[in-house]
Structure formats: structure tokens, C-alpha cells
Amino acid sequence: MSMRGHSGVSAELAAVDGRRRINMDKVMTGICFVLLLIIVVIPIVMIIYNAFFNEGRLEIEMFRTQMTDSKNLDAMFNTLKIAIGATVLGTIMGVFYAWLLGRSDIPAKGLMRALFNIPYMFPPFLGAMAWDMMFNGRSGYINKWLASVFHLESMPININSVWGIIFVEVSYYFPFVFMQVVSALERMDPTLEESARIAGARQHQVIWKITLPLVKPAISAGALLILTTSLAHFGVPSILGYAKGIYTLPTRIYAVIYNSGGSFDGIRQGAALSVMLVIVVSLALILQNRILSAGSYDIIKGKSMRPTLIKLRGAKIPLFLLAIFTLVLIVIVPLVMIVLISFLKAYGLPLQFKNFTLAQYQKVFSANGTIDSIRNSLFASITAGVVCMFLGTLVAYVVQKIRPKGKEVLEVVSMLPYAIPGTVLSIGVILAWSGRIFGINLYNTIWIILVAYLARYLSFSMKTSSAALLQVHSSLEEAARVCGASHTEGLADITLPLIRPAMVSGFFLIFLPAMREVTTSILLYGPYTRTLGVQIYSLRDAGMIPQAAALATVAIGIIIVLNTIVTHVTKDRKGV
């Protein structure tokens, strides 16, 4: 009889042990429910309530006006256009490079694979900044250069367009598909393809009829990740589109609140728009669930054998160069551009050595709030990381091992913020914690940012800890019990150490994106609580582009250092 069947082992043990344990389980479960209520449920309820109610009365009017406002409809249309465009192009690009690296004999695979993951590390809004510097429809550096070389009347490329936004989003989001598909290709049993060869299919027929259909689940998973991320994305459209009047729903929400000067009415309008955005994202998520549950099959069995690599022959060098070119274009060029601009005496001067200076760095660090912003970001992201790490593990433990009644509710609630765009979450947090409930007012403090981060990132650590806990087979803890350890000792000696690596990587999974976060904090920051992302954004917004670039360079430096530390820390893991 398989022990996997005993999912409720812990509950069973509790019954055997007597009263004390029961209470501890109940305490843990209770804590989970209360914390999730405060962190997740209240903000969400506040949004819905404020979108439809005013001073306790049902009021659909405002919601209707917002829904029919042509600016909002335009924004919605743009959001969809960008999301669909980015998804289609990002998927094609991701699949193409995944196949090239997973199945062909293209050289330098390891290096290329590492490089293809880099866009994943950097905040897209910094990339958008760089591209704006190069191809701004009026003053992009490369645009100007091209125009002078080819004696053009107008700028050849305008990045401040829907297509520009799509391009930048694709370059940062295609790794979602790339990584999923590469790993699916690696895990795939090569005899599935070999048997098609034996059946008489030629190489290209095998790709179209066997390989691609088999990795379809991985492709759709990645594609839908692009879709949902893009729908909720704030950074790139705000940097590239805002000035040109191209709005998406997230930037529109920001604009509405910003223009109203943070008045309650503005926030309510934002809440109404948020409901609209949440509906769109939910539809995408429902679609995702449908597609993923329909097409999951097992392609990983059989003996591990290296797949026969397809010889590219004549196409090898051109494809290799194409891959290198892509990497340079999406990874190196924007980086170089930001660093170069950060050395400029003033934005707009030609990129020549005589115009270079270190003054921008000096200025930015003596400027109001820069040091504060780094400190704020470090504080908020480390605290959020640590708290989420423990809270997420607690929720995961309750859901996986204690399995109380209503565990499904816990699971859904903790994953809910994952489906809610950062902008929307911010509005919920504002509505909840600016004095309206129990008079608690966190607005303009760093705590409101922290609360928002907790809600936003809890699902990350909960996911990693859950996966790790599932791997900890109950017999490991049982073996400890039989060896003379009490339940608590078993937890402390066996289960926790085993999931510790997962908890640590859960921490970094939160800490790293929180460090460069801009979407959530842009709506929550106060005069003394700017975050690093917000500071870069506002510097740029205020026209101090070289200073923004200098701070961006520093931010990128920090990110690279942190990432190196992460890889180092998580490299040799003892756990599951």
C-alpha cells in the first residue's frame, strides 16, 4: 500500500499524539487565515467596494462613465494590442531559439543559454529608457545619426509607438517561452522523435508533426505568461507611450490618479479602471487554465539519452550569427546606451569623449532622496523577502501537510495577488490602509509599500516552498519520529532543513524583483519613501535623463552583484 495515499499524515499523527499537537496545528492554520485576510483579502475587497459603492451606497454611475470613456476604451484597446503582439512575437522568438539551442548543433550553447536568460534579470523599464534614448521619435541618438547619414527628412524609427512598446516587451519577455520550451525539449524522450524518423518522416516533418506539438503545453504556458505579464505591465508603456499619449490600462490608472492629485475621486476612478483590468487579466488566466489542463501529457520517460542533434550544415554560421546579433541587440546595446548616457554632461550632446563626465553620478548621489531611495528599496525588499519567505512557507506547510478544512481557500487566496496587476494592488492597498479601516493610516510611509510588496510577492515563496514540501516524502519525517524525535523535532531537524534551500531561493525570487520594482511603488511613494525604481523614473520624468541613466547604471550594478551572490548561494544545495 502506497504511503503517498496518506495525504493527511500530519493530521493523523496529530490524532495519535493527543491534544497538544492539535492546538499547534490549529494555531498555525489560524495565523494563516488571519494574515491572508489582512494582506490580501481586505485590499481586494476595498477595490471592488469602492468601484461600485460610494459612502455606503451602491453607485454604478461612476463605473459606467469610466467604462464608456473613450480614453479608457482606447487604453484597453492598446493594452490588448500590445499584449497580443508581444505574446505572438515573443512566442515565435522563444520557440525558435529554444529549438536552435535544444536540438541543433549550433556552437557555444552553454554561453548562449546563459545570455538568453539575462533579459529576465533586468527591469524592462530600464530597457525602455535605453531604447527611448536611441530611437525616440524626436531625439533618439541613433535616429539622429541615421537621419544625418542617409539625409532623411524625418526620424527613421519611432520607438514611441505601439510597435515600439511591443518590440521592447518582446525582448524582455521572450525568455518566458524560451526557458519553458528549452527545458521541455531537454526532458523529452528522444525516441518519440526517432520513432517518427523510422515511420518515414523527414527531419522537417518531425519538427512540425512531432516535436512542436509535443512541446505545445510548454509553449502555451510560456505564451500565457507573456500575455498576463504584458497586460498588467506598467514600465515600458509608461516610458515609451506616456509622452505620446499612448495609454494602456495600467498607465491610464496611474494617469487618472496622478492627474487628480491623489484625491479620493481619482482613486475611485482608478478602482473602477482596475476592475476593468482585472477582468481582462482574469479572462487570460481562465484561458491559461483551460489550455494547460487540456494539454498536459507525459513526455519524460525512458532511458536518458542525448537526443540526436540536427546538423544545420550550411545554415549553421548564419544562424549562429543571427543568435549573436539578437543577443547583442537586446542585451548589450541597451546596457551600453544607458552607461554611455550616464557619462554625458547633458542629454542631447553628441556621444563624444569630450562630452563625458562623472558629474552626473556626483549629482545623482547628492540629489534629494537618492540615497534614501536605495535604502528604502533595500529595506522594503529585504523585509518583504524575509516575511514572505516565512509566511509563504507557513501557508505552504498548512496547505500541504496539515490540510485543514478550507485549505483550498487558503491556496486560492494566497495565489490571488499573482493574478492582480501591481497597479491594481496598489490602489487596493491605498484604499485599505489610508485611514479608512480602524483608522490605520500608512499612506506616505514605507510601511504601505511593504504591505503591498507582501501581498504581491507572497505567492512566489508559497509556490517554491509548496513544491519543496511536496518533495519531502512523509516517510522522511516519519523516520525521524521512529528514531525518537517528537513531531516538533522532526519538523525542525528534517522538514525545515530540507526545504531551506527552497525557502532561500523563494527569498531571492522576491528580493530581486522587489529591488527594481516600479509598478506598485509608483502609486504608493511619498516624499520620503521613494524606491530605487521610482527615483529613476522620476529623475527621467523630470528631464534629468543623464542622472536617471547614472542611477540606472548603479541599479544594474547592484542587480548584477546580487545575482552573482544568488547563483553562488543557491548553487550547492543540499536539500530536495
Binding site: 524522450d189 525516441t191 518519440l192 520513432s195 523510422i198 515511420a199 516533418q205 512531432i210 505545445k216 532511458k303
Partner: protein, 370 residues
Amino acid sequence: MADQIILRNVTKKFTTKTLGDIVAVDNFNLQVHEGECFSFLGPSGCGKSTTLRMIAGFEDLTEGEIELCGRLVSSSRKNLYVPPEERGLGMVFQAFAVWPHMNVFENVAFPLRIAKVNKTDIDRRVAEALHHTSLTGLEKTFPGDLSGGQQQRIALARAIVTNPKVMLLDEPLSNLDPKLRETMRFEIKALQRKFNFTIIFVTHDQSEAMAISDRMMVCDMGRIMQIDTPENLYNKPCNRFVHNFLGESTFIRVVVKDGRAYPAGHMDQALDVAVPKDAADEMVVATRPNEIALTGPCEGGFASRIEKRIFLTDRTEYLIPVGDQLLKVQTPHRITFSEGEACCVHFTEPMWYPADDEEAEKERARRQLV
């Protein structure tokens, strides 16, 4: 009978980063006759799978040539290599390799669709293949909803639907449970009778190979040891490795003195075996545990006693001291001795191997560890 698969001096070398050059297949020569069921048998790393993959066309060879149905498909001399899809083979893999995104019908129809067979013919031929593999009625089912045995039947149906002359089976039964393995073995043989193809069957399971093959090749460490019928391989193994690899074996080291064989470490009682004329001073006598007859103490033979008795599900195993060694004997349950009881051991036609094979055996074991 014509030779349908011919391997001439086939050699395959791999270069690995850690171990340097490895000769996976060393100068293989063999002919497989038309309509024959031919097994490649050997421990893992013996070169059997590599050979099969060279025949299928998934690996190119380093030296030599391969001929399929009178057509040269691989040749190092002529720098010729025909890709797998043009070799006209059927193949079944260990992990089934049925495509999970296609239903049963589509899986089996795939080779025909690729060959652009017209629709009515596809329907007819797929129905026929499904009929012969007892899958009729499951056309619309997806492989993920079927058992391992049924999935392997799909793979078989897909392989026979093009009516190939040669069928390559790469450990097709290893992923099935023992009971199913036996049934599938019969089904494969029945299909062979019906469609009259030549089978190459790769396995590491000797009893499976013996049950299914007309002839088989036993190989070890990249070299062919012996090619013969199962009965001949079992009864007349060419060396100690083959003896040990096929069926159960029990070995007794003996010292030959005055034309009689004494178990090592015990010179007062000779074994009741005829010593071959050319026997060296030290030899190894090999036999099968169930070919040794066990009788009561006063009926001749080598007198000893039962040291240990172990009941197995279908027979009883006895360990009996012979000199300083223990002889393994197996009898049906109905023949019962108790531990410590005196008994007599009778050998029937044992095999003789040079004693220095012992060293070779140790060397083998060592190499396997490395």
C-alpha cells in the same frame, strides 16, 4: 534462406571527454536470415544497443558496412549513409514512444500519412493493424489513457502498418510487468508469423531472448562472444562468460590428478565425472543447478551433506559442500532433503573451462565496476 541483414566488420568508436576513446562495437560480423527472430543479448554496455542504432540509422558507423534487404545502407568505405526514414524499417522502443498528442488511430496512421497513402487505404490498413494488435475499438483513445501494454501494442501496430521486411525491437518488454511480458512475447511471435518479417530483438534478459529467438548473438564489452540457437548456446557455451550469462550456473574448481577430478581443497574424494583428455591440472567444472541429480547417501556419486536449504516459489535450492566450495543444486519441491542430511551429488555432462578463466572473470567484474 537469404540473408536479410548483413554486418561486415562493423566498428563504432566514441570519443568521450572523461574516458577518451571507447570502442563500443568492435568488428561485428553477422548475417540475419529472412524471417528469422534474431536477438542481441548482453549486459549493459556490451554494444547491442549501439549496433541496433547503427542498423536503424541513428548512428553512423566508424568502420565497416551494413546491408539491409540486399541494399547497402551504411558504408565507411563508400562514405554512404542512408537516413533512418529511407531504410524502410519497423521499430519498437523500450519506452513505447507513442505520440501522446495523437490518438491511437493517428499514431498508427502516421507512417501511411507521411507516405501519402490515400485515405481509404489508410483506413483499411490501420484497421487491419489495430485488429492484429487487439486494439480495435480504441481508435479515438489517447495513449495517455491506456496501460503500458496497450501503449506497446500501439507501437507494434504503428510498426507493422507499413508492412516492413525488418522489425527492430529495442527492449520492447522491459517496461512491462512480468505477466504481460510473457503475453506480449507470444503476440510478437504471432505477428511475425502473420506478417513474415525479420526481427532483431535487443534485450538484456536472457530468458526472454531464449524464449523468443531462433538464433541469438551474445556479446560482451563490445565484442561478439557467440552466435547460435538458444539451445546450443545454453548447452554448448563457448566460454565461461556465456555459460554464466545464460541461465543459472554453478562452478567448481577442480584439481586433475591421475585422470580423475578432485574438488579443490579436498583430495580424498573425486567427482564422478569423466575428465576430458586434454584437461590441464587445474580446471573449472561448470554445470546448471537443476541438472545435478540429488540422491540419498548410499547410491554412488559424490557423497556430501546438505549445508543449507532454501525454498523458492517453484523449486528448492540446496547448498552442498564440495571440497572447500559450495555447490548450488535446485530440485522440484517434491524432492526434499533437510539441512544436515547426507546426500549424493551426480553431475550430468558438465562443461570444462580452463581455470585461468577465473582471473578473466575477476577482470570482467572489475571492469564493470569502473
